[in-house]
Amino acid sequence: MEERRAARDGGDDHDRGSPHAPTEPDARFTLANERTFLAWNRTALALVVAGLGIVQLLPPFPGVPWGRHVLGIPLIVLGAGVSVISYGEWRRTQAALRRGASLPRSVLPRVLAGTIAGIAALSAAVLLVSAAR
C-alpha cells in the first residue's frame, strides 16, 4: 500500500526527516532504472522477431507440419511477457529507490533463461521427430 502510494505521488509529500519516507531518488538511479527497462524491452522485441522469423522464414520441418509454430509462438508470448514483467519490475525498483530500501530481485533472468532452455530442448525434439519420419 505504501509502495503504491509512493509510486503514485512521486514523493511529493515526503518528509526528509525520517529515513523511510518516500523521497525522489538521485536522478542517476532513476535514469539507470529506465535504461534497464528499455534494455529488457529491446530484448522482448528481439524475442518476438525471432519467433516470427521461425514461423515465417524457416522452411517447414519434414514430417512435422506444426514444428515451426511450436517453436515460434512460445518466443512471441515470451516477448510480450518480458515486456510486461519488466514494467512491473521498473515500478517496484523505482518505489524501492524512493523509500531507500534494498532493490527487489529481478525474476526476468530466470524467466528468460528457463524459456530459452526449454525452446532449445523443444527444437531438439522437433528435429529428432522430423529426422525419424
Binding site: R28, F37, L38, A46, V49, L52, Q56, G79
Partner: protein
C-alpha cells in the same frame, strides 16, 4: 562543496546514456517494422509507425524531475507497443496471412 563524484553536479552523462537507450529502442522498432514489411506490409507499417512515438518519448528524458508522475506513463507506452507488436506477430504466425495486405486494401483487382 564540490562532491567527490563529478556526475553528482549534473547527471548529464547518465541522461545522455538514457537518451541513447531510447534511440536504440526506437531503431529496434524501425528494424522490426522493416523486417515485417516485406511479407506483411500492413503489419510492418503499423510497427514502423511506432518508431516516431518511441523516439518522441525519448526526448523527455531528464524532464522527470519536474513531472515525475508522467514517467510511469511514458514507460507503460513502451510496454504497450511491444505487446502490440507481439499480438501482431501472433496473428501473422497463426493466420499465416492476416486478412489485410496492401493488395486487399487497394482496389487493384481485375
Amino acid at each position: 562543496m564540490i562532491p567527490e563524484d563529478v556526475e553528482q553536479l549534473d547527471p548529464g552523462l547518465a541522461r545522455e546514456r538514457t537518451k541513447l537507450a531510447w534511440a536504440r529502442t526506437a531503431i529496434a522498432f524501425a528494424a522490426v517494422g522493416g523486417a515485417i514489411l516485406k511479407k506483411e506490409p500492413v503489419a510492418g507499417l503499423i510497427v514502423l509507425a511506432m518508431t516516431p512515438l518511441i523516439w518522441g518519448l525519448g526526448r523527455f528524458v531528464g524532464h522527470t524531475a519536474e513531472r515525475p508522475e508522467l514517467q510511469p506513463r511514458r514507460l507503460l507506452a513502451v510496454t504497450v507497443t511491444v505487446v502490440t507488436v507481439s499480438v501482431l506477430a501472433m496473428v501473422i504466425a497463426l493466420v499465416g496471412h492476416p486478412p489485410t495486405s496492401l493488395r486487399d486494401l487497394l482496389p487493384l483487382h481485375g
